[in-house]
């Protein structure tokens, strides 16, 4: 039963990792941009939530209604203002610029909030649990997982059933021809980054409720996000969810063997997938 419990808890943890990874997956899929600052943007989302909660006394989950649109606008401005200029045939400029952005965000947060760990207080929901078939499941992890599934289902639906999703796929396929269809790729990329950072705000707030965070916490989130994307297969959002779950389960199983193995087990699972199936478990079927 302990092992079953570890698998179930790991699956729920995977929901959080999928939230970390969804924005990363989205922007890589649409514009082939590898965003090194993604982890720091998640942490920025956490701090944004903290500021809203502190200033207004809102519940952290209610603060989402402020944090999500603010991060979305920030994403659009960031893309139109800076990142669009780095996109081209060469993958290196966006890597370098987002790396610089990562350093800037970390130091700005350090300047503004000091290095002290912070945490958002969500009250009773943090410790509440429900009993299912002899397992005690935390309400917060359950909610996180449900939100992750909801976010990915919504993104997937948007991608395949709306004009915006069609525009994303067209620009991703062929930027020049998409321009001929009247799609301004700079604007489409801005919308994609806005959407990615909206998801990032959700990830940041759930992160900030679940654990403490500090300005340097982004790097770890970036790694988990990357690993979930790669395990699941590039450009496949449901694959990203599966990748997050595999990562989460590996970690809780590792911790079951020995608490010191938790992080290591996740990385090993990632390396095994990379070695056996470098294209990921569920790569997007092209063509």
């Amino acid at each position: 039963m302990d092992w079953v419990n570890a698998v179930v808890q790991g699956t729920l943890l995977g929901g959080l990792y999928a939230l970390f990874a969804a924005g990363l997956s989205l922007i890589f899929g649409i514009m082939r941009l590898v965003n090194i600052a993604h982890g720091d943007l998640i942490v920025l989302g956490s701090y944004l939530g903290l500021v809203v909660v502190t200033a207004t006394g809102m519940h952290p989950l209610v603060a989402l209604i402020v944090a999500v649109p603010v991060m979305a606008v920030l994403g659009y401005v960031l893309q139109r203002g800076i990142l669009n200029q780095t996109l081209g045939d060469d993958l290196l400029p966006p890597l370098l610029v987002t790396f610089g952005l990562s350093v800037i965000i970390q130091n700005a947060l350090l300047e503004g909030f000091t290095a002290d760990p912070q945490k958002m207080n969500a009250g009773a929901i943090e410790t509440a649990s429900v009993s299912v078939g002899g397992l005690q499941l935390g309400v917060l992890p359950l909610l996180t997982f449900a939100i992750a599934v909801g976010v990915i289902a919504a993104l997937q639906w948007m991608f395949y059933n709306t004009a915006l999703g069609r525009a994303f796929r067209a620009v991703s396929d062929n930027q020049e021809i998409a321009q001929l269809m009247g799609l301004n790729r700079r604007h489409v990329f801005g919308l994609a980054m806005g959407l990615a950072l909206a998801v990032t705000a959700i990830a940041g707030i759930f992160l900030g409720i679940r654990t403490s965070f500090d300005p340097a916490a982004g790097a770890g989130r970036l790694i988990y996000g990357f690993e979930a994307v790669i395990i699941g297969g590039l450009g496949n959002l449901w694959g990203t969810l599966a990748g997050g779950v595999i990562l989460g389960v590996s970690q809780t199983l590792g911790a079951k063997i020995d608490p010191g193995y938790q992080i290591l087990a996740g990385h090993i699972a990632f390396l095994v997938v990379l070695a056996v199936r470098p294209q990921g478990l569920f790569p997007r079927v092209s063509g």
Partner: protein, 236 residues
């Protein structure tokens, strides 16, 4: 004489570091069908890229309805009512046939072309509307590419090598559909390697040779000798 729909004046254009067009002058009247012929490397595709905004030029080198458009981006040019059927079809592989057509429509310009009108023109596409665009034959893909451009309800449609790589019977069926497209008052520019096809559907022709206009005239009036002289740069 009324103002032309499109005019090029002293258009210089580059293909990478290579200058592909030298001082090209050209006019297209409302409702006219122009054929652009010329050997490989004569600058035909560069001409299409310049007009459609895929490559930028000085603003006044290209004028459309008395408005300088040489420096506009492709999405802005598309919004003014110029559509390009690109060489090699270039459908969006991750979109279905129907989605490829629908994306052409997003400009929201009014006109006779709709999903149903395109399906009436090419009935095979209605049957195959839900399949991936990559699973179509070359000729069917070309029909989608033409339909996608028509969905924008353009005033001017540019066809770049629409018969390239297709079987003669398919080429014939596509050219048979052309009068139905341009008959509705739409102006067109047709880049074509097959000279007799180009002459049969056009009002006037321009022959490019190494980036310059070597010949222009009414399609029915020019002699074969004049065309081959302009095409190859020999004789006369």
């Amino acid at each position: 004489m009324p103002d032309p729909l499109l005019s090029l004046s002293a258009l210089d254009a580059h293909y990478g570091d290579f200058q592909a067009l030298y001082g090209v002058d050209m006019t297209l009247m409302q409702g006219e069908v122009l054929a652009i012929i010329g050997a490989n490397g004569a600058g035909k595709t560069t001409l299409m890229r310049s007009i459609s905004g895929l490559s930028q030029n000085a603003p006044n080198q290209i004028t459309y309805i008395n408005q300088p458009i040489g420096a506009l981006r492709a999405d802005q040019v598309a919004g003014l009512g110029i559509a390009l059927v690109p060489e090699g079809r270039q459908l969006f592989p991750s979109l279905s046939v129907e989605e490829n057509l629908l994306i052409g429509e997003r400009m929201g310009r009014k006109g006779p072309w709709s999903l149903q009108a395109v399906f009436d023109l090419f009935p095979i596409l209605e049957e195959r509307r839900a399949v991936a665009s990559t699973s179509l034959s070359g000729g069917q893909q070309q029909m989608v590419a033409i339909g996608r451009a028509l969905m924008a309800n353009p005033d001017l449609i540019l066809f770049d090598e629409i018969s390239l790589g297709l079987a003669p019977v398919i080429i014939k069926s596509i050219y048979d559909a052309l009068p139905g497209i341009v008959g509705s008052g739409m102006s067109a520019m047709i880049v074509e390697q097959d000279i007799s096809k180009a002459l049969s559907v056009s009002d006037r022709l321009y022959c490019l040779q190494e980036g310059r206009v070597a010949l222009e005239g009414a399609s029915q009036g020019v002699s074969r000798e004049a065309i081959s002289a302009a095409y190859f740069g020999v004789g006369s």
